[in-house]
């Protein structure tokens, strides 16, 4: 999966659907820096190495071509799926994060792809990253607290 991919290549390969109104034939860019897909952000590990760390419960799994769901669809909204060539990409979760935003740590030796029905697909260049959620400030309480943004 290291050649240039289009959205339709990716959906054919993985069996994951994206909405029909997205342009299926535009090639999917591969980014080696920070990028966001809706309410998720992919951050190079070096930027958050002091905040996000593996813990005693952290387990790593091989990301299969059929994908790992990062935010489950049962939770409402559309799922963000992570896909890569089998055996080349590890997804480790849960991790320690005092901000409570990180979903897990991604270690990939090939280009991995993040696929979402509404946002399409985006490529992640080989490397180590933290994938985290977006938050907002809660209002109407006696004290400030935050909750997650869900798109």
């Amino acid at each position: 999966m290291n050649s240039i991919m289009t959205l339709s290549d990716l959906t054919a390969l993985t069996g994951l659907d994206v909405f029909d109104y997205l342009d299926q034939e535009v090639s999917v860019p591969v980014i080696d820096g920070m990028q966001a897909q809706g309410d998720l952000i992919v951050v190079p590990y070096s930027l958050v190495a002091e905040i996000v760390t593996p813990g005693p419960w952290t387990r790593s799994e091989n990301v299969p071509l059929s994908g790992v769901v990062l935010l489950r669809s049962a939770a409402g909204g559309n799922p963000h799926s992570l896909v890569a060539d089998e055996g080349m990409c590890m997804w480790s979760t849960p991790v320690n994060d005092p901000r409570r935003l990180a979903l897990g740590i991604l270690d990939t030796r090939v280009t991995a792809y993040l696929i979402h029905p509404e946002h399409g697909a985006t490529g992640i260049a080989p490397g180590r990253y933290v994938i985290g959620r977006q938050r907002e400030r809660g209002v109407g309480r006696f004290f400030e607290r935050t909750h997650f943004v869900v798109d």
Binding site: F19, Y21, L22, P29, I31, G33, M34, Q35, A36, Q37, G38, I41, V43, L47, V48, I51, W57, R59, P64, S66, L71, R72, A74, A75, G76, G77, T93, P94, R99, L101, H116, E118, H119, G120, T122, G132, R133, Q134, R135, E136, R137, G138, V139, G140, E144, H147, F148, V149, V150, D151
Partner: protein, 410 residues
């Protein structure tokens, strides 16, 4: 695609940790049992009066009382009105024979039974160093993921059944119904269908053969199960039992970010909860709102509304961009949106007229909608933040300098 072959169900064992292949199957079953109970808790359908009355009569007899006269009312608020008008609760008191009344006898009987069952369950507890932390971890991931990392069945069932149903029904739907009634009704209020967590929890242990309860506890569990599956709220008095019908409409949506099928009341343009007698609630993503928020939200009404949660719901109904244009909010800062070429991040201050203010970041979605337009959305950020870039960075938990390096946003 799963490569693990399905194992025969008969091979199920009492603990999930000794064989990882079985655990996923058992845990799948836990979710199914929970969802069946959730269905009872959210049911909008006339009560099964025969089943409900027969179970309650048995509870009366077991408490040493004669069968009561049943009075059916169309809703819980109608029940509390009846109790007040008839003075049914005036015979209760904490002094003297308060504890001897039928409702406290039933409550004691059921809670003692639960305590005995809890003791049995605790006996099979795993040697997890810290059960509470295990439950917290189990809350954030699916039952099979928890089973796979060796979290005990107790922690998984607590998170996936008890906590999930309690959140959706007891703390969710029942708390909303409470707002239709006076704070104090008198006597013990039983939530019927919305007490499902109390029976579903022990039912799960029983179904999967994880605990063997005493026969009298099994019988009480069956009675409580029957009431929960058959009807809505009820109040037991010595001679009379007031039974409320279930709602005629009850609409929910999944609670975002939760993994155990927790749900909250919601309907975009109709009451989320309605009883036969016209008692109803408009609920927007779990927040109870006045009817105008759903039926006819306007900028003028929003300006007059004091409750920020209600204001927020109304603004979301008309859309942040419309609201900001029409209400003339003050722009504090603006910046190019990194990774989203051609679009800007805008930070606004919104004052509610009562000396309180909020900061709202207005951003443009990175991907187009079906109609080709891009949705604008508002996100509340802490008021200490006065730069649009810092505000966007804060939502992802990083600083503004790092966020400026964002390469792509979709």
């Amino acid at each position: 695609m799963s490569t693990a072959p399905l194992r025969p169900v008969a091979a199920r064992r009492a603990t999930f940790t000794d064989n990882n292949d079985h655990s996923a199957e058992c845990m799948f079953g836990v979710g199914a049992v929970r969802d069946a109970w959730l269905g009872h808790g959210l049911r909008a359908w006339p009560s099964d009066r025969t089943t409900a009355e027969s179970a309650v009569e048995t509870l009366y007899r077991r408490s040493g009382f004669r069968e009561p006269e049943f009075v059916w009312v169309p809703s819980p608020p109608a029940g509390s009105d009846l109790i007040a008008v008839e003075g049914l609760a005036t015979t209760l008191s904490f002094a003297g024979d308060g504890v001897a009344c039928v409702s406290s006898r039933i409550a004691t009987m059921l809670s003692e039974s639960r305590r005995r069952m809890d003791t049995l369950i605790a006996r099979g507890r795993s040697d997890w160093p810290n059960e509470r932390r295990a439950i917290e971890t189990a809350r954030t991931q699916s039952p099979d993921d928890s089973a796979r990392v060796g979290i005990s069945p107790n922690a998984i069932i607590r998170a996936a059944v008890w906590d999930s149903l309690r959140t959706s029904l007891f703390d969710g739907v029942a708390a909303a119904i409470r707002t239709l009634m006076p704070a104090v009704v008198g006597g013990v209020t039983w939530y019927g269908q919305q007490e499902a967590h109390r029976v579903a929890f022990y039912d799960t242990y029983r179904r999967f053969g994880l605990a063997r309860f005493r026969s009298d506890d099994v019988e009480l569990l069956d009675l409580h199960t029957a009431v929960t599956g058959a009807t809505g709220w009820w109040w037991a008095f010595d001679n009379v039992c007031v039974m409320a019908e279930r709602p005629t409409a009850l609409h929910t949506e999944p609670i975002p970010g939760r993994v155990h099928n927790e749900r909250r009341l919601h309907h975009p343009d109709a009451p989320a909860l309605e009883f036969e007698d016209g008692h109803l609630l408009f609920v927007h993503h779990g927040t109870i709102v006045p009817d105008w928020v759903v039926l006819e939200p306007t900028v003028e009404r929003i300006a007059r509304e004091r409750n920020v949660e209600v204001r927020r719901c109304a603004i979301e109904r008309i859309g942040w961009d419309t609201y900001i244009d029409e209400a003339g909010l003050a722009l504090i800062d603006r910046a190019d949106d990194p990774g989203n070429v051609g679009h800007t991040l805008q930070l606004y201050v919104i004052s509610d007229g009562w000396g309180r203010s909020d900061h709202i970041l207005l951003a443009v979605n990175g991907s187009p909608e079906r109609d080709g337009r891009r949705r604008r959305y508002g996100i509340y950020v802490p008021t200490r933040i006065s730069s649009a870039l810092d505000a966007a960075a804060w939502t992802y938990g990083i600083n503004g300098t790092d966020y400026a390096r964002l390469v792509r946003r979709t």
